[in-house]
Each structure stands twice: as structure tokens, then as C-alpha cells.
Point group: C2
Chain length 329, copies 2
Amino acid sequence: MRIILSGFGAVGQSLVGLLSSRAEDLYTEYALKPRIVGVFDSGGGAADPAGLDPAAITAAKRDAGTVSAGLPGGVEMIRSVDADVLVEATASNYADAEPGISHITTAMGRGMHVVSVNKGPLALAFPSLTEIAAYNNVALRFSGTVGGGTPILDYAKNSLRGERITSFAGILNGTTNYILSSMASGLSAGDALADARKRGYVEADESLDLDGIDAAAKLVILANWVMGMKVTLPDVGREGIRGVTGDDVAGAASRGRAVKLVASCKDGLKVGPEEVPLEDPLCVNGTLNAISFTSEHSGTQTIIGRGAGGTETASSILRDLLDVRQVMS
Amino acid sequence: MRIILSGFGAVGQSLVGLLSSRAEDLYTEYALKPRIVGVFDSGGGAADPAGLDPAAITAAKRDAGTVSAGLPGGVEMIRSVDADVLVEATASNYADAEPGISHITTAMGRGMHVVSVNKGPLALAFPSLTEIAAYNNVALRFSGTVGGGTPILDYAKNSLRGERITSFAGILNGTTNYILSSMASGLSAGDALADARKRGYVEADESLDLDGIDAAAKLVILANWVMGMKVTLPDVGREGIRGVTGDDVAGAASRGRAVKLVASCKDGLKVGPEEVPLEDPLCVNGTLNAISFTSEHSGTQTIIGRGAGGTETASSILRDLLDVRQVMS
């Protein structure tokens, strides 16, 4: 399987490491022989139809700050390098979804399958992207966009097959959950945010976390994939955690509850602070993510796991590559 | 799809209701057209190659206490009625797994696929049964044996494909969890048990719950299916909750923990009371079930849901029937 890897941050580097370390069992157990034939970051690209050396590109990134071997990256590389799959792992952009969306549509137009962990294109154009994928007869997978390594999308779609999910609610952003958990432990809103920043939990664009944009993007992806809705980011009623005070958190605690940033699909799509009973399985602390699906016959089921992390997200890309492998054979 | 239904208790009746109420969408969405061509309980059986009327067999059970129309049930029916699938839903028996295991092996010997919610045969003979299924080239499915309607087995096997699960620990018996939760709320062990009995949570053979046999059976099924082990019930180190005192529970609480009956696969297979930190997602209360899978790359993931119930378990049978449908086509 020939792969172009778009973006070489923590996730891309973890993926390359994972594919190397698992090379043997991926081949014997799944007949998967991944080859990175192209990789690029904002500095440029490197390509080799025989497969790039994982150690060499990782070293280049470390030493020179870019994988570039002087080749152009981005759409230009996707147009010129032959591959089976594009793994899109550049940063999410919720203004116009670029450059990810151009990477994805260019790849699909050339008949490549796409695995995206970039949420921007899916949040802004999910219905169109699935149509373009169908038109070009390619697979579009995005397990890593929701829940990191926790296979939330897969659970809802496959493990619950035959079942009808009627609603769901989730804590889908680990950063805000960490901040709210710290506030519940007595920190002021300001101190909790400062602590989260110090630990590197907060996105460079803080609004993505604090204003609920990241959670809303994941909600959009879930609503499209799990519920068959055709919605995009503007369809979500959204409020972040900036307005949550220490008094709110303390008041909730006195009622046996905790304030959480909840993304829900019930009567419409909504992200906002809500009080969740402490004994509700959804009420997880720290950077954990959790989601509760309510279905017609099986009651409410909750999945909890780490929602982020390079290795975890890379493991979800691997799952998607195994799906693509099946489609290809 | 022609189905013989073995056992017509809460689960069997829920299944018949579910298949009727969902008839239309099962056909249009999944091309599944289930037909109950035979059903039996301890009183005898009824059969009709054109398909039995769901309302009629349910009414017979209600009014006469048995579905019997004068036909023999059990192995005799399985030998004489032609069907594609046996749904085995008689009571679990951990002494010799009968009559379920004879139902299952007879059906497989005749080339029928098997969906079992009866845990006895799997707990006592999982490795043999999967070999017999392979030899006869039939599917053996048992989603409902662990977690009721919560697709725990499916999650571990399919949603985590490509991932390596290194260990797991679960609260797999709702009855004992209810009793321990009541004790944590201040009830004495005796009062908690009496309350659980009154609510109908305790099996007729109380030992199955209180001595951890039910939990151990589920652990065996998980270990075989998820970890590829070849084990049976005697391989589990097992201790129930009869020795847990109010002092144990109070002591745990003072340490921010709760006593839970934990079934674990780490260094060997074990069921026994353990102290679980209150903030651990595994630490669920009431009749809930929970299981945490720890994997190589995706960290620890927890699934929580109702572990029992007629409708819930029937929904898991439906999932298995959809799998069988795929194998058949």
C-alpha cells in the first residue's frame, strides 16, 4: 500500500514509528505492507516510489525542522506522486478547511483513498466530501477525528449494527474537561487555564478549545456518520467554557453534579456547559473523553478513553488503513 | 433465514417481539427475513416450516406456560426440523452445560449456524465448540453472553482491530455490583442481598452470582475470544462476594475506593473482590456492567452499559443474526 503522508507533526511521526515497529505482524496478520512514498510538511516534501526510510524522514524533521528534500509538498505532490492512500494530518482549520480540504479532494480526484485525522474539512464539508468519495469510488475514513485512539465512530456504526441510536451526548474535548475538573478541585478559572496551558493541553488557537469549536467539529462528524444527518459546523448551537465561574462549579458540586462541556445530539446539535450527575458514567475527569449512546433496544452505553495523543491517534489511522486494505482487495 | 429457537424465557420472547416489530426495516436495510420454524421450551415444541406466528407462540406461553403444540423439543426437534440457525437461549448450567451443549453440537453437526446466549457451553467447552464450528463450516456467535446488549465482545474484536489488547478488567455481574453498591450506601450485607432478591436480580441458583461463577463464565468467553486463549471455567481463580463485610466496604470508602467484584485477565484469569478507585471509569454503580481494555497503542478504554435484560440481550442476538446473514450470502 503506497501512502502519501500530509503533515508530519506528532501524529504523522507516531504513525511512521507505529508502521515500522508493527511491520512484521501487519504483513503476516493483515497482509498490509505500508510504504510511505511521499511525505510533506509546511517546509516541503520528500518522495520515493520505493518507499521512504522512516528513520531518515524522522531524523530530517528533528534536525532540519522539515522533512523537505527540496520537493514541493501539498497539492502539487499529491498531483504528481502515485499512491493508493492519502493520510491527511495537517492542522485543523475551521475558517476554510485549507489546506486539508484541497489535499483531500485532489487525492480523491486522482482515485486515492483518504484517511483524515484533520477535522476541519469534515466539520465544514462532510456531506460534500462523502459525495465526492462516492463519485470517485474511493474510501474516506476518519476514525482519529473523534476520540483519538478510542474507536467511538466505529463502535456506534459497527458494534451497534442493527440497533437504532436515538440520541447521544459526549465530553469530546479533553482540554476543557481538564480545566473544568481542575476548577472542581478548587482552582480558579484563571489558574486552571494557566495550568492546562503549562501542560501543553491548550491548542495554539485557544478558541478551538475554550469556545467549544473542537467539540462542535467532532459533534458534526458524529452526527453525519452515526445519525446520517447532513450537517456542518454552523448547524451546531455552541457555547464554550469562558463563562463558567467557580461559583457555577461549586454550586453544581453541592447538587452532586459537575459542570461539563457537553456535545449533544438530541433535539438538534448543541455544545455547551451542562451539569452532569457525578454518578453518570459520562462524568469523567481530567483529559478523558466520554460519550453515551442511547439506543432503541440496548439502553445507554458509554465509552471512555483518552481522546488525543500522537500514538493513540496513529493507532486509529492504522485501523482505517486496514479498512482501506480490505476495500482494495 | 429459518431459525430454531431453543428456550422461550424473557430473552426468547423479547427476540420474537423484536424480530416482529423490526420485520420491515430488517428486510429493507439488511435483507434479513427471519422465520421461526421451530421453538421449544421444557414443556415441548412447536414447528412450522412456513414460520410460526409470533403472536400465537407468545400467547401459548402466556396462557399454557409452554409453547408446546405436542411436538418433542430439544435435540429431537433440532434433528428433525430443517433450519439455518439455532438460537440457543436455555438456562446456563455450569455442571455439564446441558441441555445447551447438546443443542449446539447437534445443530452444528447438521450444518446450522448457532447463536448462543447460553453461557454454560461456552464457559465449559469454548475451545472444543469453536473447533466443531470450524469443522462443520458454520458460524458460532455469542454476543449476548457478555454485557447483554452492550457489544463488549464485538468492540474488543472489531472496533480495536489492528490493536493489541494486553489486559482487561471488568465488572461483569450486575447483581453482585448492585449488592456491593447498596453496601457502599450503608446497607448491611444481609439487607443488600435481601433487597436484590426482592427486585428479582438474583439468579434462582444464588451461587452463580454470589460465588462469582457468572462473572467467571464471562471472563472465560472474553479470554478465548479476545485474547485467543484456550481456557475453560476451571482455569479461573475465583472468589465471590460472600466474604465481603460492611467493614471492608467502609474501609475502602475511607481510601476513596469501592469494593467491586472484578474479573480480570492480566497475569492469569481471576474473579474476586478488589478495591477500585472511585474516579476510575470502571467504578460503576448499581446493576451496570463495565469493562476496561488496555491496549498497546490506544491506552485504556472503558465501556459501560446494562449487562442484562431481555430486550437488550435480544438486540445482541439480532446483531449475531446479521453476522450469520452475511456469512450465508
